[in-house]
Symmetry: C2
Subunit: 501 residues, 2 copies
């Protein structure tokens, strides 16, 4: 038997074959290893000269040359095209799609105007345009406090650093119009000096503190969700100073937050029809996200909404923040091996079930408000109505917690449906009680008004929409241009005002 | 520069190194390839002599020597220990755990006795023991038809082959007691002649036919669920002949099956308190499974409930059919890389939310029955009550569809909660209406009875439990031993009767 060495000496091609085989295999292993570590790769940014930016540089354009890919993708938040079971693109008028909302929010500004938010790029434009902020003609005018600007712009941390959060919140919204100009961008989530992720808003830091947690100790992966949780959370305006506060002291669930609000006897408004002391849920996106499977598996907001992207040899975080359904290859399919169509179908299957249940809850609560209104008219007493109004408050809080949370049907469909079940049970319980009260005062079935369109519903609750719109138009024609002029006159270096879009 | 060949010739160890490296890498690749194909491995069974078994061999023990691993693991279905959020082991008395069930089923046999099923090994014992089958002292006696045996034994296909399904179903339950003796086993899912998977029950085949589908054309992977779907489904006893029928003609959802039942004006019983025409859901396990993510991903029942198992060099399907939570390493962790504790916690998180919502639905429907009873007593008319009774029927059908389905909170939590929301909405709607009717007849709040224990609830609905139990004891002492004696006397070759366990 010849030894391998002899074989190689006799037939040199055998040695070469072995060698080439080794090379080939090692090359493939290299590919494998590269693909494993690939996702850790980070882009090399162009170095920013030390001291170039102070900690509150608010002008997004300033970062353009140093982080070109992040900046260019961030610009795309102007494209709000999104894939959803509703189809469609751009701004959706939710009151038109679902006029029940008008009745549910009767007596509250949301009944005037509620549209699905567009991309971050429109944050400043859309809050100026909204009928909810009305038409303040002087800096001391208008229904809204400075707090309403809190999430709209990197000018907010800049201003808070200048005048302090208390002063910021307690001013009128119109008093800050000439200062808050750059739309949501770089300095909202990054420290301009280092570009590290940074919590720029006091609300989240304070909520952590009250829970005995230290937000400076969290991991980078947690920060990739917490920068979003500065704004995508449930919050309220506390006290006279309208201090932006997260109701997180007892926990994140709908019951724990309700307990928090109840302990303050807090209500956002008194319902115009039922007189119930209402809570308006903002958008408990982060809270519900924590109750879903993706959070359980430590998937951060940015993993799906800002996935990694390659351009040539550069890998970077896509700053076109959007629905992952717009970008399934880079988001879902990094982990899930299903076909795009199947992934979409899976998501819609959950959304459809949640939407059906949400509408069921709305039908119930609308009826409860209207029947409560009829009971008051029939002569019901405060004592008789008190338990009913509590049930209506509880029902609508549950519905709104589920309905207002962006992506709830995806992030945590099981918890969302549990919450909606509670809304239906309590709303109907109020109606059982109302049925008894109405009978006592000789009333039978309460006729339901025609609220089949936004216009009819707004007319039913007594809104003078032409007047509100005319006032807004005047405000947009006179006040907003003046705000922009004032901002621009402060210096050419802060030259990225948002024109009307 | 020296060539590689020269290098190898000068320093032989370099050649050896390259060679050994190749060997090592190829070995590792072999391991990888093996692990990839490993899951396709199938066990080699000991060949069964041709003609050894006929197509309806019902005695499980007969297969022992040919399929020792499958047989031994099947024997373990006598161990019903299971991991669940309830903890515990063995048989759970559901009426004791949740006495609301007694009221929900008032007038129906389930109010007498309803326990969580034990392993397949107990199927025959437990149906003999159940108070639901009562105490027939002659073959023509008793409340239940032969149909009740349908899922309990491989003696069923044997008998159906002998006398035909119509005759089997339309006999009295007691008339078949001496024939149905072997507990659920081999021939229920396998053709004894070939051991191929086989649909042995006509109900499923007929349901497929009525849907225009051919069950003989399905894939092996589908069969790994469909053999379970012979029994783990919603079904009813159709017409005078008590013909076992799946209500699948319009689809699998709670609404589609309701439409099917409504189209026949079918009801299982009239509720003893509310007089509502009720539907009893059996266990729509397969139906709800098809609406969950595991079915979407083509995971079959057997993949989790009968995962592959290795013993030495043999790989086989574990026939200890049980909760996958008992066997996480072989079931869940084949696909899911999470730690056991985390997997369990994820499952419980869904179960807890579903159970909470289920209990909420029960509370509502119990009240509706009792308030309806009070309305009848107060003098309400058939016309007034008709819409209320329909709502109660719809509510309880939804609740029962979700509650009776084994593993619903795992298989399809989102659909389950959608269904339960519908139950709550309709149950409460009935109560809104009842509130009006009761007021009309001068009744205020209806006092709720004390149903805090099974005993109190059974007393409330007027069951004479000591009498029922005494009759059952007599039946078990006299009739069942006679059934076993008759079976044994038919021949030693059919010698695996089930003794009392």
């Amino acid at each position: 038997m010849t030894s391998i060495r002899q074989t190689i000496e006799n037939r040199p091609w055998v040695g070469w074959l072995l060698f080439l085989l080794t090379v080939g295999i090692v090359f493939l292993l290299g590919l494998l290893a590269s693909s494993i570590v690939e996702r850790r790769a980070e882009t090399t940014a162009i170095a920013v000269p030390e001291g170039k930016f102070d900690a509150f540089e608010a002008v997004n354009e300033e970062f353009k040359d140093y982080y070109p890919r992040e900046y260019q993708s961030w610009l795309q938040t102007a494209d709000t095209g999104f894939r959803s079971m509703y189809g469609g693109n751009a701004m959706r008028d939710m009151l038109e799609e679902d006029p029940r909302l008008v009745v549910l929010w009767a007596g509250y500004a949301f009944s005037k105007d509620y549209s699905q938010g567009r991309g971050h790029s429109y944050a400043v434009t859309d809050i100026r345009n909204s009928l909810r902020t009305a038409a303040p003609m002087t800096p001391e005018d208008g229904p809204m406090p400075g707090t309403c600007w809190s999430c709209k712009s990197p000018d907010v941390p800049r201003m808070m650093a200048e005048i302090g959060p208390e002063a910021f919140y307690s001013k009128k919204w119109a008093a800050l119009g000439h200062e808050v100009t750059n739309s949501i961008g770089c300095a909202d989530c990054h420290d301009p000096a280092t570009m590290n992720l940074r919590i720029s808003r006091p609300g989240l830091v304070e909520a952590f503190e009250r829970r005995g947690e230290d937000i400076t100790k969290v991991s980078h992966q947690q920060m990739r969700s917490l920068v979003c949780a500065q704004c995508h959370v449930e919050y309220y305006f506390k006290g006279e100073g309208k201090y932006l506060t997260f109701p997180w002291d007892k926990g994140f669930t709908v019951e724990q937050m309700e307990e928090y609000y109840d302990s303050y006897a807090f209500s956002d408004w008194t319902h115009a029809i039922s007189k119930a002391p209402m809570l308006k849920a903002q958008h408990p996106d982060y809270e519900l996200y924590t109750m879903g499977i993706h959070a359980r598996r430590d998937v951060a907001c940015a993993d799906c909404h800002m996935p990694y992207k390659s351009e040539g040899s550069q890998k970077f975080t896509d700053h076109h923040i959007q629905s992952p359904l717009n970008n399934i290859a880079n988001s879902c399919q990094v982990c899930h091996r299903e076909e795009t169509e199947e992934i979409v179908a899976s998501v819609y299957a959950h959304q459809q079930r949640v939407v059906e249940t949400r509408i069921q809850a709305e039908d119930v609560i609308v009826k409860a408000h209207i029947e409560a209104g009829a009971a008051w008219e029939a002569g019901a007493t405060e004592t008789e109505m008190a338990p009913v109004l509590q049930l209506i408050r509880q029902a609508q809080w549950r519905w709104d917690y589920a309905a207002a949370s962006h992506g709830a049907a995806f992030h945590a469909p099981v918890e969302t449906l549990r919450v909606l079940s509670g809304a239906i049970a309590r709303g109907q319980e109020a109606r059982v009680e109302l049925s008894r009260i109405l009978s006592k005062y000789g009333k039978g079935l309460v006729a339901m008004p025609d609220i089949s369109t936004k216009e009819k519903a707004q007319q039913y609750i007594g809104l003078d929409m032409p007047k509100l719109r005319a006032e807004k138009d005047e405000f947009l024609k006179t006040i907003v241009p003046e705000w922009i002029r004032q901002y621009e006159s402060k210096g050419a270096e802060k030259s990225e005002p948002v024109a009307a879009q």
